[in-house]
C-alpha cells in the first residue's frame, strides 16, 4: 500500500500534473455548505469534526482541543470537515468482466482504478467529499463520502487491495445504492455496464429520480469495440467461465453491430436522463480522456 504522500499505485504524478487545473463541478444544486465551488440550497454554517492533528505554531487557538490536552498532555487541534456542496460517490464495477485486458495492455479494472484514484484526488483537492463503493453482484465495500486526506488514504488502500471477480448484477446494486443515498450527490459510475441494458438504464433513472447527478464512465477494452480476432477461437467468459467456440472472423460484423447497439442504447438512455455518458476505451490514456471530459463539461 502506498502512503498518502503520493506513492499510491493508482495515482500517477505525471497524470496528475496534467490535470492540476481541472475541476469537477456539479451541475445541479448539491446539498452542503458553499465553500467556494458549489451552490448550496441551504443557508447557515455547519461544520463536522473530522480528526485531530498536532498543534503547530500558527494554528488557530480556538481550534485546540482542550479535552485531548487534559487527556494526553499534548496539544492537538481539531480538524473540521467542511460540508461541501458536493458529495461524490464513485461506484466502481469490480466484477469479473472488468478484469479483462489484452496482452501487454492495461486491464479495464486497472484503468477504472486509475480513474477512480484521479477522481478521488480531484475531489479532495476541491475539498469535496468523495466516497467509493466497489461492487460486483454484491457490494464489496462501501466507503461513505468524506473530504479528508485520511479518508482518501483509506480509499486508496481499499482500492489497491480490491481484486475484481465475480458475476455482475449492476441493476440490482444500483437500485440498492439509489435507495441508500439520501442526500443529493454526484454519482460517478465506472463500469463496463454488462448487464441488461434496459434494467441498467432503469437503475440509472432511479438515481436521477432521487435527484442525484450521474456521470458514467463506460470502460471498454479496444478488443471489445473492434473484435479483431481471427479464425476459430474459444472464448471464456471471465465471470461465468462459460466457454464458447466460434469463428471470430465470421461473427465479427454481427458482434460489432451488437456492440454498437449496446453503446448506442446507453448513450441515448443517458442523454434522455441527463446523464453524462463518457466512452472510456482503455486504449486512450485515462488522464487524457478525463481531461477532455472535464474541460468539455466545464465549458458547458
Amino acid at each position: 500500500m502506498a502512503d498518502h504522500q503520493g506513492g499510491y499505485r493508482y495515482l500517477d504524478p505525471h497524470a496528475l500534473a496534467g490535470m492540476k487545473n481541472l475541476t469537477l463541478i456539479a451541475r445541479g444544486v448539491v446539498e452542503g455548505f458553499i465553500s467556494g465551488l458549489h451552490a448550496s440550497p441551504y443557508k447557515g454554517f455547519s461544520v463536522e469534526f473530522a480528526e485531530h492533528r498536532e498543534y503547530v505554531p500558527g494554528d488557530d487557538p480556538r481550534r485546540i482541543d482542550y479535552r485531548m490536552l487534559a487527556r494526553t498532555d499534548r496539544l492537538y487541534v481539531k480538524q473540521y470537515e467542511e460540508e461541501t456542496n458536493m458529495r461524490v460517490q464513485i461506484l466502481l464495477d469490480a466484477s469479473g468482466s472488468m478484469n479483462y485486458r489484452q496482452e501487454g495492455k492495461i486491464s479495464k479494472f486497472a484503468y477504472a482504478c486509475h480513474l477512480t484514484a484521479v477522481l478521488g484526488y480531484l475531489m479532495l483537492r476541491q475539498q469535496d467529499a468523495v466516497g467509493l463503493t466497489a461492487f460486483d453482484r454484491q457490494l464489496k465495500f462501501d466507503l461513505a463520502a468524506h473530504a479528508s486526506p485520511r479518508h482518501f488514504n483509506e480509499m486508496m488502500r481499499r482500492l489497491e487491495a480490491l481484486e475484481p471477480g465475480g458475476e455482475t448484477d449492476i441493476p440490482a446494486v444500483l437500485h440498492r445504492l439509489a435507495d441508500r443515498f439520501q442526500r443529493r450527490r454526484l454519482i460517478v459510475l465506472i463500469s463496463d455496464l454488462y448487464g441488461e441494458p434496459k434494467e441498467v438504464s432503469r437503475a440509472l433513472h432511479h438515481f436521477r429520480h432521487r435527484h442525484h447527478e450521474v456521470i458514467i464512465f463506460h470502460v471498454l477494452d479496444k478488443a471489445e469495440t473492434t473484435f479483431s480476432f481471427q479464425g476459430v477461437v474459444a472464448f471464456r467468459d471471465l465471470e461465468s467461465n462459460e466457454r464458447i467456440e466460434l469463428d471470430a472472423s465470421y461473427l465479427r460484423a454481427h458482434y460489432l453491430k451488437e456492440m454498437a447497439e449496446f453503446q448506442s442504447h446507453y448513450r441515448q438512455a443517458c442523454a434522455e436522463a441527463g446523464i453524462d455518458y463518457v466512452a472510456a476505451e482503455t486504449s486512450m490514456p485515462y488522464e487524457l480522456m478525463l481531461s477532455r471530459y472535464l474541460a468539455a463539461r466545464n465549458r458547458r
Binding site: Y100, K108, Y194, G231, A234, F235, D237, E245, A248, Y255
Partner: protein
C-alpha cells in the same frame, strides 16, 4: 465421353477430403478470456443458418474443385466413337467419290489423287485386327469392293485401280450402303470416311432420304473435301443435232453448249472427229467467265451408214473428262424404197404420186439417200418386196388376195407399208381386204370418206394434233403454225376398234377429233395409213413447207435409221427390247475400245437367261450394263433375218460439269455432330487425333476449376471477416 488418362480418375476421391475435414476435423481453437459472451451468443444465434449455408457452399465448391481437377487430369474427351478406354477394334468404310468432277485438276493434281492420298492415310491409321471397305461411287464395280477386309494390301491395290469415271455420284446412296455394311460389322469403333469434292449434284438424292439413313453417334461420318482451287476449265456440255435428216452430202447442224466454269475467260476451239478422223474444226471461241454459250457447228456427212462422231474441245484445261461428247448417226444412203401406184395420170402433177415422188427424189434421192423404184400395183404380187425397206402404196384399189398376202408377208418380214388415200380407196373394199388378211394390212377399220364439199359448217379441217413423242414428228411441233396450217378437204375416216387401240397409234389428228395418220406394228413390220391423198383437192399438205421434211423424216423413221442410234449416260445399261431381238440368235457388242463380246440369245421370246456370257436377257430384253467407258458402242444382232446394227453413244453425265458445292451447314443441320469435316485432306493427322482422343474437354474442366475457386474465394470473403482496422 472417354478419358485419355483414366487412372487420374482415382484422384476424384480427393473430393471427399473437404467432407471428411468438415465432419471430423476441428481446428484447434485458441482459448481467450473475454469479458462477456453475451454479444457473441447473440451473433452466433443470428448467423447460425447463414453460416450453415455458407459452410455447405464452401464444402461443395471445394469438393467440386477437387473433383473437376481430377476429371481434368484424366483428360476427358468427347469421342464420337464411343471408345472410353482409347483405341479399340475399328471398322472403316471409305467412300471414294470417283465421279467425273473428281478428274478436275486442283493445283497440279486431280482431285482423285488427293482422295487417294487421304485414303492411304486412313489405311495407315488402321491397326492389326481393324477392317476397312472401299466403296467407289462410280465406275465398273470391283469384286472386292463394298466388303470389309483386313488385308490392307488388297485395299491399297483396289485404291490404285480406281479411276475417274464419267458418271455422277450418288453420295447419299453410297452413305447408306456404307452404313449398312458397318452395321453388320462387329468392331466397336465404326467410322465412315467420305472422300469427295462436295459437288452439289452428287447430293441430289439427299432430300429423298430420311436423316436416319445417314451417320449416327456410333457410326460418325468424316467428310474429306478433296477440292481446292481448280484450274480454269471449259466443258462441252451438250450437243443437239439439227432437225434435218442426216443424209450423205446434206448440210447438218449441231448446236453445242459450252460452259466456262472458271472465273477467267477461256478461248477454245470445237473440233469434229468422225469415225476416228478429224473432220472439221471451228474457229476460236471466247468464253466469258462463268458463262454458258451456244455454238452452231455446221458440217456435212460424206459417207452413208452408221457414223461414229465426237465433238471435242481442243486443248487442255482443268478437266479432260468434260471436253467431248460422242454421237452416233445413221446417215442415209441409197435406202431402197418403192412407190406402188395405180394407173398414172396423163398430167404428171395430177398424178397421185407426183408430190410424193418429188419429195422423195428431190429431197432424198438426189442426195443419194434413197433409191426409189416405181412399182405398178399389177406387179405387186410378183415383185420381190423384201428388197425394199419402205413401200408407199398410193391411191391403190383394194388388193386381190394374192397381192394382199404378199404384202402381209412383207410386213411380217419387217417391211414398212405406208397407205396413202385417193379416189380409188373405198373403205368397204379396204376393210374386206384387211379382214381377209387377218386384219394386218390396215392399222384401223375405215369408215367413210368425208369431204367439206356440200357442208355448210366448214370449208376444211386442219391438223390440230401431232404425236409429240413420235420420233418422226417431234421436230415439227414448233412453231405450231407448221402443222396448224395444213388443211384437209377430204379424208377417209377411221374407227379404231377397242381391241386394236393398244396396238394402234394416232400420229396426227384433225380438229374434229378424227385421226388423220395412224400407225400399227405388225410383227416386225409397221403399217401407216394416211387418211388423205396427196392431191391438192384433198389437202394442201404437199404445198406446205412441212411436207418435204416430213416425208424425209417419215422415210428415215420407217427405215429405223434413227431408231438405231441412241444416246446414254455412262453407267446406264444398253437395253434392246424384246421386239427388236426376238429374231436374233446372238448379239455382238463392240466397245469404244474395240473389244468385242458375243452373247448367245435364247430363242424367240424366251425369258431365259443367256446361255453364255454374263450379260443377261432380262424379261425378254437384252441388257448390257458395262458402259463405264465413254464412246460409241456398236451392237450387232445376228440371225436368220440377217444383221442389224445399232449404235449407242455413251457420254459423261453433263450435270457433273456444275461446280456448285454443297454447303457444310446443310450436312451439319441434317446430321449434327455426327458429321466431322477434315480440314486438310493431305494431312489428316489432326482429324485422326481428334477421332482417337475426341474433342478435348480438359480446358473446359480447368476453366470450371478456376471458376469454382474464384467462387469459393468470393464466398469465403463475402461472409468472412473484413480486415480489422489496425
Amino acid at each position: 465421353m472417354s478419358f485419355a488418362a483414366p487412372l487420374f480418375l482415382l484422384t476424384a476421391l480427393a473430393a471427399l477430403i473437404p467432407l471428411l475435414l468438415h465432419l471430423f476435423y476441428r481446428q484447434p481453437a485458441k482459448e481467450l478470456p473475454f469479458p462477456t459472451l453475451r454479444f457473441l451468443k447473440l451473433s452466433m444465434e443470428k448467423t447460425r443458418r447463414r453460416k450453415r449455408i455458407h459452410d455447405l457452399l464452401l464444402l461443395l465448391l471445394r469438393s467440386a474443385a477437387l473433383l473437376l481437377t481430377a476429371l481434368g487430369l484424366a483428360r476427358p474427351a468427347i469421342t464420337l466413337t464411343g471408345a472410353l478406354w482409347g483405341a479399340r477394334q475399328t471398322a472403316v468404310a471409305i467412300i471414294l467419290d470417283n465421279s467425273a468432277s473428281m478428274g478436275v485438276i486442283d493445283g497440279d493434281s486431280p482431285r482423285l489423287e488427293t482422295a487417294r492420298t487421304a485414303a492411304a492415310q486412313i489405311l495407315d491409321q488402321l491397326a492389326a485386327g481393324d477392317s476397312a471397305a472401299l466403296l467407289p461411287t462410280c465406275g465398273r464395280p470391283f469384286p472386292d469392293a463394298e466388303k470389309l477386309h483386313r488385308n490392307q494390301g488388297l485395299l491399297r491395290r483396289m485404291l490404285q485401280q480406281c479411276t475417274v469415271s464419267y458418271q455422277r455420284a450418288d453420295l447419299p446412296a453410297a452413305l447408306l450402303k456404307a452404313k449398312k455394311l458397318l452395321d453388320e460389322a462387329e468392331a466397336p469403333n465404326k467410322q465412315i470416311f467420305l472422300l469427295t469434292d462436295m459437288q452439289q449434284v452428287s447430293w441430289k438424292s439427299l432430300a429423298d432420304q430420311p436423316p436416319s439413313d445417314g451417320p449416327s453417334q456410333t457410326t460418325p461420318l468424316i467428310v474429306v473435301d478433296c477440292s481446292r482451287a481448280p484450274k480454269p476449265n471449259a466443258a462441252l456440255q451438250l450437243v443437239e443435232m439439227s432437225r434435218s435428216v442426216p443424209v450423205v452430202g446434206w448440210a447438218s447442224q449441231a448446236v453445242i453448249t459450252l460452259w466456262n466454269t472458271s472465273e477467267a475467260a477461256q478461248t477454245r476451239r470445237v473440233e469434229l472427229v468422225l469415225n476416228g478422223r478429224l473432220e472439221a474444226a471451228g474457229p476460236e471461241i471466247v468464253l466469258p467467265p462463268l458463262s454458258k454459250e451456244k455454238y452452231i457447228f455446221n458440217f456435212t456427212f460424206r459417207q452413208g451408214g452408221l457414223q461414229q462422231g465426237l465433238f471435242r474441245l481442243a486443248g487442255e484445261d482443268g478437266s479432260r473428262y468434260d471436253d467431248g461428247r460422242y454421237f452416233a448417226v445413221e446417215v442415209g444412203q441409197e435406202l431402197p424404197i418403192a412407190v406402188v401406184h395405180a394407173e398414172r395420170h396423163e398430167i404428171p402433177y395430177l398424178d397421185d404420186t407426183f408430190y410424193l415422188e418429188k419429195a422423195l427424189s428431190v429431197g432424198l434421192e438426189s442426195l443419194g439417200a434413197v433409191r426409189m423404184t416405181r412399182v405398178p400395183v399389177k406387179n405387186l404380187a410378183a415383185e420381190p418386196l423384201e428388197k425394199y425397206q419402205v413401200l408407199y402404196c398410193v391411191n391403190l384399189p383394194a388388193l386381190d388376195s394374192q397381192a394382199a398376202e404378199r404384202l402381209r408377208s412383207y410386213l411380217h418380214s419387217g417391211g414398212k407399208v405406208v397407205w396413202l388415200c385417193g379416189e380409188n380407196v373405198r373403205p368397204a373394199d379396204y376393210n374386206r381386204m384387211n379382214d381377209s388378211s387377218n386384219g394386218e394390212l390396215l392399222p384401223a377399220k375405215l369408215s367413210e370418206v368425208r369431204a367439206v364439199v356440200g357442208r355448210s359448217d366448214r370449208d376444211s379441217w386442219h391438223i390440230s394434233f401431232l404425236d409429240e413423242r413420235h420420233p418422226a414428228l417431234k421436230d415439227f411441233l414448233q412453231p405450231p403454225a407448221l402443222y396448224l396450217s395444213v388443211l384437209v378437204y377430204k379424208h377417209v375416216a377411221f374407227s379404231v376398234a377397242e381391241n386394236a387401240a393398244a396396238q394402234t397409234r394416232v400420229l396426227a389428228g384433225l380438229d374434229d377429233g378424227q385421226p388423220l395418220i395412224v400407225e400399227r406394228n405388225v410383227g416386225p413390220g409397221k403399217v401407216l395409213f394416211v387418211g388423205t391423198s396427196l392431191q391438192t383437192n384433198w389437202t394442201n399438205l404437199p404445198l406446205r413447207p412441212l411436207f418435204m421434211p416430213l416425208i424425209g423424216r417419215l422415210t428415215f423413221y420407217l427405215t429405223e435409221l434413227e431408231d438405231r442410234c441412241r444416246e446414254l449416260t455412262a453407267g446406264a445399261p444398253i437395253l434392246l427390247p424384246r421386239s427388236i431381238i426376238q429374231q436374233a440368235e446372238s448379239v455382238e457388242v463392240v466397245s469404244p475400245g474395240g473389244e468385242t463380246l458375243r452373247f448367245q440369245l435364247a430363242q424367240n421370246g424366251s425369258t431365259d437367261q443367256a446361255a453364255a456370257g454374263d450379260k443377261q436377257k432380262q424379261g425378254g430384253d437384252f441388257r448390257y450394263p458395262d458402259t463405264y467407258q465413254i464412246g460409241v458402242y456398236a451392237i450387232r444382232l445376228q440371225g436368220d433375218a440377217g444383221q442389224k446394227q445399232f449404235a449407242f453413244a455413251v457420254n459423261f453425265d453433263p450435270e457433273e460439269i456444275d461446280p456448285a458445292k454443297l454447303e457444310r451447314s446443310e450436312l451439319l443441320q441434317r446430321w449434327g455432330k455426327t458429321v466431322i469435316f477434315a480440314e486438310d485432306p493431305n494431312n489428316l493427322a489432326a482429324t485422326f487425333a481428334m477421332l482417337r482422343e475426341g474433342h478435348g474437354l480438359w480446358e473446359w474442366f480447368l476453366s470450371a476449376v478456376l471458376i469454382t475457386l474464384v467462387l469459393e474465394t468470393l464466398i469465403a470473403n463475402r461472409f468472412g471477416a473484413k480486415k480489422s482496422p489496425q
